[in-house]
Symmetry: C2
Subunit: 527 residues, 2 copies
């Protein structure tokens, strides 16, 4: 059976020819963009634009229009529908007649609109003889994507969505979703926000009249290049199968599944039912499924993308996942440290005590009037003041020896110099923490947040290179969303170091690593 699932999904992912029903020369229309998305990203097979309003001389991306799938001479493996819901059934009959085995129905207006939509569903089931003659993704979906290469160098992939994808990157993440948005409008924003987060698959399953989350999960789990799979569901199609697949994933090396379940409350369910026609599910049942499946739960799309990024980076850079939740924090503000203390505790994390050795190393960079804490919350503010004082003293003694007082004064004002001496202090602190055996990871809060200045970048790059070498996860925190923090986010990304702009986020994202370690232990024991 498992083999047959792979074969079925391959009908969609490896077609030799594709008919785009509703293709159009009008660039605003989805049918136009689907053809473009396939063609411009290097789909090698035959594309047939199908639309009865065009003639056989008309072309799109160099492919001649056909008025009906029945007019196509060669074989067609996959049909993509982007037409009004009312004409779907008639064209589907033609597809079956033509011997087409797979269709992605992107049109909306089925189960989610009530009685009329349910009638359409029944007609489709009858036409396809319960999907035995022709398998369906959708309806009410936004297509499937597979990323074969990066956009820049080895551009390529198989993209059936109506949003033309550019600037993507192939990587170890995948998404299976009941919200087309995740393969649509938001995808380009994610690629830009996290340019180092690469994807292998994004599948919009819509109302999942035939194929659903389980078939794609099974398919994706076979791909060794995928480490983390995020799934957005408004209902479970076959909860038992879902649980068993998720548990199976726990036995595989380097696989994590993240789940966002929409429609847990009565208001959410009402919304889900008008969105994908999802049936009401009991909240306790949902929670039981999540617990039994041992997946990481995210509460919204933002969190989902953040978790994807965290796992993607940790797997990619071969980090050792934490088990005890022992974390160290280096922060430039005591108030922020206090709040982080509360938040860390809320997420089950602990700041352990330093060993005598680490404590003594730390003490060397602190001023006498303010020694460091004995526990792993390092308020670096006094070290910064000390570094500044030391730099000023040094400058003064140099100035005394020199006669060119003004020249020295200018040099002394140079922020690089100050940054440099503070950089050394940070080096000492970070080393002490990362080499302390009892600490599993490090949070670094940028004092005041990065300003996006060149000097900050010059200061950051060697630091990132240095700490990226340790097998312990290091997370950065920079308060506020700003142009500077976005620049910093991308710079950190290059070293697989995630940057967060919220205190809750940084704790939560470390806690899910601990949770995943425990999940893996739990399921390896019970299996």
């Amino acid at each position: 059976m498992s083999n047959s699932v792979i074969k079925i999904v391959d009908l969609f992912y490896n077609p030799k020819s594709v008919a785009v029903i509703g293709a159009s020369k009008v660039s605003m229309k989805g049918g136009n963009r689907i053809v473009n998305n396939l063609h411009s990203n290097g789909y090698k097979g035959q594309i047939y634009p199908v639309n009865p309003n065009y003639n056989e001389e008309d072309e799109l991306c160099g492919f001649k229009f056909k008025r009906s799938v029945l007019d196509i001479e060669g074989e067609v493996d996959l049909a993509i529908f982007y037409v009004n819901n009312r004409i779907v059934t008639n064209i589907l009959k033609d597809c079956v007649k033509k011997g087409i085995k797979a269709a992605i129905i992107q049109s909306a207006g089925f189960e989610e609109v009530g009685v009329e939509g349910l009638k359409l569903r029944d007609e489709i089931a009858a036409i396809t003889e319960n999907f035995s003659k022709l398998h369906i993704i959708g309806p009410n979906c936004m297509g499937i994507s597979r990323f074969d290469g990066d956009y820049d160098d080895k551009k390529g992939g198989f993209f059936t969505g109506q949003f033309t994808l550019t600037n993507y990157k192939r990587g170890n993440a995948a998404i299976i979703t009941q919200s087309g948005f995740l393969n649509g409008g938001i995808a380009p924003l994610i690629f830009r926000q996290y340019p180092n987060l690469g994807f292998r698959y994004i599948v919009s399953i819509g109302n999942k009249m035939d194929l659903g989350e389980n078939e794609f999960l099974e398919y994706i789990l076979k791909d060794d290049t995928v480490n983390v799979i995020a799934i957005y569901l408004e209902s479970f199609k076959d909860p038992k199968k879902f649980i068993s697949l998720c548990r199976k994933a726990k036995q595989l090396p380097k696989k994590t599944i993240i789940l966002v379940k929409g429609g847990k409350t009565s208001q959410g369910m009402k919304a889900a039912s008008s969105h994908t026609g999802a049936l009401v599910e009991d909240e306790r049942l949902i929670d039981a499924i999540i617990k039994q499946a041992g997946v990481i739960q995210a509460n919204n799309f933002f969190e989902m993308f953040q978790f994807l990024r965290t796992f993607s980076m940790m797997y990619k850079s071969g980090k050792k996942f934490p088990r005890k939740g022992n974390i160290a924090l280096v922060v430039g503000s005591g108030g922020m440290g206090t709040i982080m203390g509360d938040i860390a505790m809320k997420y089950g994390l602990k700041f352990p005590e330093f060993s005598e050795n680490s404590y003594n190393i730390l003490k060397s960079v602190f001023p006498n009037w303010m020694p460091p804490n004995r526990f792993a919350l390092v308020d670096s503010w006094p070290t910064m003041e000390k570094a500044m004082m030391d730099a000023a003293k040094k400058a003064k003694s140099t100035a005394k020896k020199s006669t060119k007082k003004n020249a020295i004064n200018e040099k002394e004002r140079n922020p690089f110099r100050m940054m440099g001496s503070f950089g050394n202090v940070m080096d000492v602190i970070q080393r002490a923490v990362l080499e302390e055996p009892n600490i599993e990871g490090l949070f670094i809060s940028m004092p005041g947040g990065p300003r996006g200045r060149e000097s900050t970048m010059d200061f950051m790059t060697p630091m990132l290179k240095r700490i990226a070498k340790y097998p312990k996860p290091v997370f950065f925190y920079s308060m506020m969303e700003s142009e500077g923090s976005l620049e910093m986010l991308r710079l950190c990304g290059k070293y697989n170091i995630p940057l967060f702009t919220r205190t809750e986020d940084i704790a939560k994202n470390f806690a899910i690593l601990v949770q995943e370690t425990k999940n893996k232990e739990r399921f390896s024991k019970t299996s």
Copy 2:
């Protein structure tokens, strides 16, 4: 007593002359920057830089150095300390001798470092005869700020912190804080992040050896230009007084207090104690204080600034605060709508049913194959598709009449055109919702997030102008932090419309308005 508190605080806020102990010509040092911060922002009084390492010919910002406060000929109202903790007490004796009535001690290394620090505290109490001769802010603080004008036009204020403030804006917000960071490194970032959020006061109270949150709260409550006060505390100095002041605020028009309490957990307390020497407080006691005070609680600094911004904007634009939590959502993704449904419910918000009238207006912009919901969750995606189809049809019929087919094709590709027709649709939807009596506010989710393109801005500005006129709060949501969303955030800010990048945030920020309405009702009844 109240009058005397105002007089005491005025010693700090309206001094005719200020001595800066530890002033320095070295720009890296805090004592240098304090003089600069006072001078460059237009402090009109006399400034005396004090440092025994300089001679009387030495100058800073045009003010001659003094080797001791006792060398100053004129009267000194306020002394600001930026020197090593060990020399504070000796200089403080001189201050008392000189008849100085107020000192801000920014030096750290007191209660928070244990036994040695406690000894220093006792000495200070003895020297000042329990603060009767000289009042103290701090120690371990980062100064106080009062904003008299905007940075651009009527630049001016009274700033004693060691971070030179620029680009600030006077406004209806204030902060009282035990984290100096909020008057330090983070302030410039906040000014840049929320350029339309203006402040009147920021007060860093540090260890609050003498003056604390209550004195400043009382002082600030007297200022009619302040509507919202955020307070960050690691301990309560006099909880009873605090509760009574907060309750008093509830009787005043347009006043809201936001509280962040750091050190609620054992880890947070440990951190707080090493930060400001705060004593351990029972979590249940803290919760009881918050409840009795009727304040809005924030969990971290980010949330605090976001809440500040929300209340500041709502008061500034005279919005009607919601009471029932009846909200409408316009969203371009059904999945996002489903998640918003769950999150809204979590925060006690409801999407009410539309009246027949509003429903019919909405229906007119939806396609037949996908009518709108009966409840106030408007998935605008189908209206966008309809608008695009209509625009395409129109373009086609124009093209038929014309012979210049290619020219029309180009015109039809113009995104402005498409945006324009979708803009009309959004207008219809927003009007219908904002004029529905049962709806108290509107969330608008930008489909796919703003891209920061000129066309988006052109599209946004008339929309913002239109909806800003309604007395109901309108909140924008745009997923992802991006350069585009930051631009949009600032644009929305001009119209007092807050933009959020997280689904949880938008719901939470509306829920605090409902909570504040209820708080005001509760305390007007019980008083």
